[in-house]
Symmetry: C2
Subunit: 388 residues, 2 copies
């Protein structure tokens, strides 16, 4: 099996304010749910359509393939088919992406990144501080219908690697952490927020698998995110007779920091090596892909970012200890290698993310945040292309 | 003197429909003058602002420097300072670009690409089929005031290479060719259109030089476009005592086609070699830079494009003879080398252009047009990086 060397096309069809702050100019919204309310309809739709037309284009697919990646993971929103006003559908953009991928030799993993009411309460779940999807059976069914429509539309496309059923459902521990970080703008919308249970997930994933396989040939993979509980899945895969499924885990250095890892390269490397051993063990049962990771960390950012709190959320207090170029190259290359070595104990990786629209020069608060971009990291020699 | 290895940031602050067709979605406008009329104000402003925020960013400056270019030429509109409603100013974007250029080791040539009423009647002059600027003394003065304000604002910036006084004024021959190709949407606006005379240009350039030098130190260059009459300038430079001026000439393969050059690589190369000799001669009197050229031609486009008529203007009739990848690499690399060798008989070049937002896969009419983009050409190996 060829290892996946992938990048996420984050921030394209699913917005994240920190990745494209100008989309949120002049309004207090922190997520697309409120962006659609805070802007006049015509302006909201124009911003969205222009962003989609400019942020990722044919030229990016050429560059990504040319850099040596073989796959892209494309986060898509639940309203991709345009049936959930006021949000604007984006199936045409995904159609275009398939044609580009097939022309330039890339594969696509479609990732259902949001669901109505949200599965995690993150800004990238569509509505910050709210996590009510799993309590709304009709919205659970709606998510299944989106998956089914995606499978029908792309199931036989040579450019399709597979479909990921649901991005980052927040089970108990992550739900706790989310709740302190993301506050609901309208608390009444969050009244029924609850962590997603593993039992719910086992059931939903099984339903999603069966629904998808009606239209998805077995050479197309079905991806399940681990719900931030990497150790909770061996029984699930042992007791169900799935064909061509993958367990997706997301591992960020900033999550290691939040768990107490001291902010040095050596310690980050140790954590990733340890995680690589876990991957090797789980991969005996089910293929494992690390669907998100990054180079971002507090050491190279030069300040304790408290687990990646970004400049659109909070102004960092304290002096930023800027490293020189040689230190950055050394640190980032070492972190890249340690991480990719770990992920390759499984079936490969998707870096988060390909591209960012932040300005580290005119807005110095973004110093260090450019390490979230594979494109910038390659241009800055923070990744040695031979290590892909 | 270090040779200029430059790219134009075309289509960013000055729109050209063919370079970003989605900006003109749903309206009949062919240029920014009518785009501002055809769209509701809020939608027009949102499209423009989003385009400016996304098309060229900090990351592009990193990539351009990393690819080996040392300079960018930035076309700017006459309304850059925001004093010509309904058009939206863009001085903040140019400020940002200076900070990026200085951070990543690039120089900027500011190019005044449009003037009110237009100096050429091209779509990229702001209003197609109209060429009345030179007949309006108050608008000639306005152009001088824009140049002066640019000199005051950026004259002492280390990132400034220089200022180009006026892009592509159409003297008699080019005016004739423009008139058959670009029709005025409101013929009454074009009633007073006339070619720009060389005598007008000599006078305007002298006035512009004197005005700019009030604020522009002599280490910053002043560029004059040749008005498509490369042979008409030796007396002008011999009889005026200028400091640090450059003659800018634009040479396109499609212009050679229009003059009767047969559509083969060998013939294109011969034309460029001949032009290189002319550059060597004129460069005895004044430094010469080729401010625009491209790889685009009818041979690699696989059809006679009648001098570069593009798919937003006219549907090509006939079979497109697609070349295979190896043929394209060979033809483009040869054309690049022949052209750059010619330009280096002078002081260097700016390729037109860095980036294009067309889709050659989902809209096959754009086949071949991707050769206008340096970024794509490098990714496709149509330019050997060693030949920059």
């Amino acid at each position: 099996m060829i290892k996946i060397k992938g990048v996420n096309l984050g921030g394209w069809l699913v917005l994240e304010k920190w990745m494209s702050p100008h989309l949120f100019d002049g309004v207090p919204s922190d997520d697309e749910y409120y962006l659609a309310q805070d802007l006049p309809t015509a302006v909201y739709e124009t911003r969205i359509k222009m962003h989609r037309a400019e942020f990722i284009t044919e030229a990016d697919f050429i560059t990504i393939a040319n850099r040596g990646f073989n796959t892209v993971r494309i986060p898509v929103p639940y309203f991709i088919f345009g049936d959930r006003p006021p949000f604007v559908g984006c199936i045409q953009e995904l159609d275009n992406a398939f044609a580009w991928a097939e022309a330039y030799g890339l594969k696509i993993l479609i990732d259902l990144h949001t669901v109505p009411g949200s599965q995690n309460g993150f800004d990238n779940g569509g509505i910050s501080g709210v996590c009510t999807w799993a309590q709304q059976p009709q919205e659970v069914d709606f998510a299944l219908s989106v998956l089914q429509r995606l499978a029908k539309r792309y199931g036989n496309r040579s450019g399709l690697l597979g479909i990921e059923v649901l991005n980052e459902p927040a089970t108990a521990t992550m739900f706790q952490s989310m709740s302190t970080r993301y506050k609901a703008r309208e608390p009444e919308l969050a009244e029924k927020s609850k962590p997603i249970t593993l039992d719910f997930l086992y059931d939903f994933y099984l339903r999603a698998y069966n629904r998808l396989r009606e239209d998805l040939p077995v050479d197309k993979a079905i991806y399940f995110h681990d719900g931030f509980e990497f150790d909770a899945w061996q029984d699930f895969f042992a007791t169900n007779s799935f064909e061509n499924v993958v367990l997706d885990t997301h591992q960020y250095l900033m999550m290691a920091e939040l768990s107490g890892t001291p902010q040095t390269v050596a310690n980050y490397v140790r954590v990733m090596q340890d995680f690589g051993k876990k991957i090797a063990a789980v991969a005996q049962e089910v293929p494992v892909v690390t669907g998100e990771f990054s180079l971002f960390n507090s050491y190279t950012a030069g300040i304790d970012t408290k687990g990646g709190v970004n400049p659109t959320q909070e102004k960092m207090v304290g002096t930023v200890n800027r490293r020189d170029d040689a230190q950055l190259v050394k640190a980032y290359q070492e972190l890249w290698r340690a991480q990719v070595n770990a992920w390759n104990n499984g079936s490969g990786y998707f870096f988060w993310t390909y591209k960012l629209n932040i300005d580290t020069i005119n807005e110095p608060a973004w110093y260090g945040w450019d390490s979230w971009s594979a494109s910038r990291a390659l241009d800055q020699h923070w990744i040695d292309p031979q290590d892909l």
